[in-house]
């Protein structure tokens, strides 16, 4: 059951090593601090899960952030009501977001193509708006759901006294705010990656790919495709819930803005940027996005002046002015431009770029031109 074909096994092992050694090899990039490492692992997991739906079946969901939000709320409630241990929080997050995905998926998957996208978007926006308004008793509205000193925490308080100050999230005594949280997320990311690999290779995964390349033919062959797409939707929703739960584990706070449609859009961007349908692409996309978000947005005029200090005075001013448009507060501009360029020139994302590069320089073969045929069209 745990066996993988040789090629996939190598991919998996390399991936595991890369993820676990992140604190080391990210140091030269200035990204080796727990807060960002946790984000790398968590958003990687989110992208892997999203890829199971979008990459395999071609259904473009624009509402996946809702599951992320549900996961976060479930985890924080578990901290508040049961225990500060991370395990029940994660379990609750996954189960609850899975149920949520089951309901939304059941309804949304009645349609495909752009209608599916709009339906998921509508559901996510409804959840977001409700979380901000009527559901305030559950979600604490704009402030976001936080831990308080009066939380019941039934399990914890049965064994120990209520301490002074807010308790910390822990896993058998390991604090989850720093590197502990990163390693937990990293291990879950590796497991999630493995599961995604197994799904891709399984008959079930093959069925999903069949649905992507030609739904009608699948139907004519006698398959009822609904259960398969629904299963993929729920699995991918559970990944998102897990990621949301982990966000809450590393920082016990859940806000509604995690569910907004721009968050879903960001997830789509990550997946496309890295390469949809590939195993590693979405994770890579997530890492690049989070890296740019954290590093680029931290650039300000002073940093830029230092950076360009080798230039003569006048040129330096111009260079700083120009680059300042793209970093700091304007990093979304870079993101948008990068995204447009990727979709225009590299529809397969960075992974396709890598493949073309390898083909060009190492195999001596000409890269295959992209054939815009019906086969690659997502489900419509």
């Amino acid at each position: 059951m745990l066996a993988l074909p040789k090629k996939e096994l190598i991919t998996f092992l390399i991936f595991a090593v890369v993820v676990l050694t992140m604190p080391i090899w990210l140091t030269p990039f200035g990204a080796s601090y727990p807060g960002l490492l946790q984000k790398f692992a968590i958003y990687g997991l989110l992208a892997v899960g999203f890829n199971i739906l979008f990459g395999l079946t071609g259904y473009l969901s624009f509402g996946h952030a809702a599951f992320l939000g549900v996961g976060s709320y479930a985890a924080v409630w578990s901290f508040k009501l049961l225990s500060m241990n991370a395990i029940p929080a994660i379990v609750f997050a996954v189960i609850l977001s899975g149920l949520f995905a089951l309901v939304i998926g059941y309804l949304s998957l009645k349609r495909s193509g752009i209608y599916f996208s709009i339906l998921t978007l509508a559901f996510a926006q409804m959840s977001y708006n409700l979380a901000y308004s009527v559901l305030t008793p559950i979600t604490n509205g704009e402030t976001g759901l936080q831990l308080t000193l009066q939380d019941p925490r039934v399990l914890d308080l049965a064994f120990s006294e209520r301490g002074a100050g807010l308790p910390l999230v822990e896993l058998f005594g390991v604090d989850m705010a720093g590197y502990g949280g990163f390693y937990l997320s990293a291990i879950l990311l590796i497991i999630g990656f493995f599961v995604a690999q197994k799904i891709t290779l399984s008959p079930f995964g093959l069925m999903l790919k069949g649905i992507k390349s030609n739904q009608n033919r699948m139907k004519y062959t006698g398959f009822n495709i609904r259960p398969y797409t629904l299963a993929a939707f729920v699995i991918s929703g559970m990944y998102a819930g897990l990621a949301g739960g982990l966000l809450a584990v590393t920082d016990p706070l859940a806000g509604a803005e995690r569910m907004q449609w721009t968050a879903s859009g960001e997830l789509v961007l990550m997946t496309i940027l890295g390469g949809v349908g590939t195993m590693f692409g979405p994770v890579l996309g997530a890492w690049i996005m989070k890296y740019l978000e954290n590093i680029f947005s931290a650039f300000n005029e002073n940093v830029l002046h230092n950076l360009f200090s080798f230039l003569p005075e006048g040129v330096q001013e111009v260079a700083v002015r120009f680059v300042a448009l793209f970093v700091g507060e304007g990093w979304h501009l870079t993101l948008g431009l990068m995204f447009v360029l990727v979709v225009v020139f590299l529809p397969g994302g960075l992974m396709e770029g890598y493949r073309r590069f390898v083909n060009r320089f190492f195999n001596g073969k000409k890269p295959k031109p992209r054939v815009p045929d019906k086969q690659t069209q997502p489900a419509e």
Binding site: I114, F123, G336, V343
Partner: protein, 342 residues
């Protein structure tokens, strides 16, 4: 009865904005077959045309007064807008009516924006799958939003409406009620009428001109029109420009009601897509009807009486309607048979 009428009226201006944006979206989809996620950004650009126009009009010349001193003891700066210096009282009127006048300016500007967008980027995506069209235009929308932010900052910039129409109209009298029974802000009324005029103009253009005839023919059977030796691509490009103009002027006129920010496009985009889908992809009357329908429904859902029965309904009504319609009526309210029906 009064309350219902008031809510009905309240929905009209928002409905007008939805209808105008959805109309442009549908035009683009019906002619070029492109799902344009950057259409909201065009609306946003339109509203910033109004902002820019006003900023240009109110550029001030600074003259240091020779006789008077400011409270700080320095020479008093006398600031007069150039418009006032050059045109006198007419300049004042110009500034006062900057929003309606900006509509005239917006027409060529938005046409150019639309054409360059289509020729520069969207042209290359006709043959690509819808998912990729969505993605590239989504990226474009982000870029346009950010560009607007670099020029105009992140804060909303309120635009005053002309002095003359600042009050509220006494609508109740028209329906034979007592005075001041129902009052309704002039500008909202103007917006509603404006949207009707624009919608009427678009429909008349498509219905009564040869150009419109060709475009409609191209919408229903592109290949045959091409075989007749007509360069349909060129006409469709012009239609994209027209759609941009419609969204742009909608944005200009909406500025007094909602101060423009760079995120305006995204906010309206989601709603207008829902409107298009509810009306039926590719159906122009559907887009207009659904726009007004959803605008009015939204304002009814905001009534306290309704909110008491269904708490939170005002937040979700549009999406709820969209979900229900999509599930029970696959091609929307007025959708043509066979247009993206799966």
């Amino acid at each position: 009865m009064d309350a219902i009428l008031v809510q009905f009226l309240n929905g009209l201006d928002k409905g007008g904005a939805y209808a105008l944006i959805a109309l442009g979206l549908t035009l683009v989809f019906g002619t070029l077959g492109v799902v344009n996620f950057a259409h909201g950004a065009i609306f946003m650009i339109g509203s910033f045309v109004a902002v820019a126009f006003r900023q240009i009009l109110t550029w001030e010349s600074v003259v240091l007064s020779e006789t008077e001193l400011s409270p700080w003891g320095t020479a008093l700066e006398i600031r007069t807008p150039y418009a006032l210096e050059w045109f006198g009282d007419f300049g004042n009127i110009l500034i006062d009516f900057s929003v309606p006048i900006a509509v005239l300016l917006a027409i060529p500007v938005m046409y150019l924006v639309g054409i360059s967008m289509e020729r520069g980027l969207i042209k290359h995506f006709y043959k690509r799958p819808h998912a990729e069209q969505i993605l590239v235009t989504f990226g474009l929308a982000i870029v346009l939003g950010e560009v607007a932010r670099t020029f105009f900052g992140a804060n909303p910039i309120p635009q005053p409406m002309p002095e003359a129409v600042r009050g509220a109209a006494d609508i109740g009298v028209l329906f034979g009620m007592a005075e001041n029974a129902i009052t309704y802000p002039w500008w909202r009324l103007i917006y509603f009428i404006f949207s009707l005029v624009v919608i009427g103009a678009v429909f008349a253009f498509l219905r009564f001109t040869t150009f419109g005839l060709v475009v409609r023919a191209g919408m229903s059977d592109r290949e045959t029109v091409e075989l007749l030796g007509i360069n349909i691509d060129r006409r469709f490009t012009i239609m994209f420009g027209l759609a941009a103009v419609v969204a742009g002027v909608a944005g200009v006129m909406y500025t007094p009601l909602l101060p423009p920010t760079y995120s305006l496009g995204m906010d309206f985009l989601v709603l207008s897509f829902v409107v298009v889908v509810v009306g039926g992809m590719g159906s122009l009357p559907g887009a207009v009807a659904a726009g007004f329908l959803l605008g009015i429904l939204q304002s009814f859902a905001a009534m306290t009486e309704v909110k008491e029965i269904f708490p939170g309904i005002d937040q979700v009504i549009i999406y709820l309607v969209a979900v229900v319609i999509l599930l029970v009526r696959p091609r929307g309210l007025f959708g043509r048979k066979g247009v993206m029906e799966t």
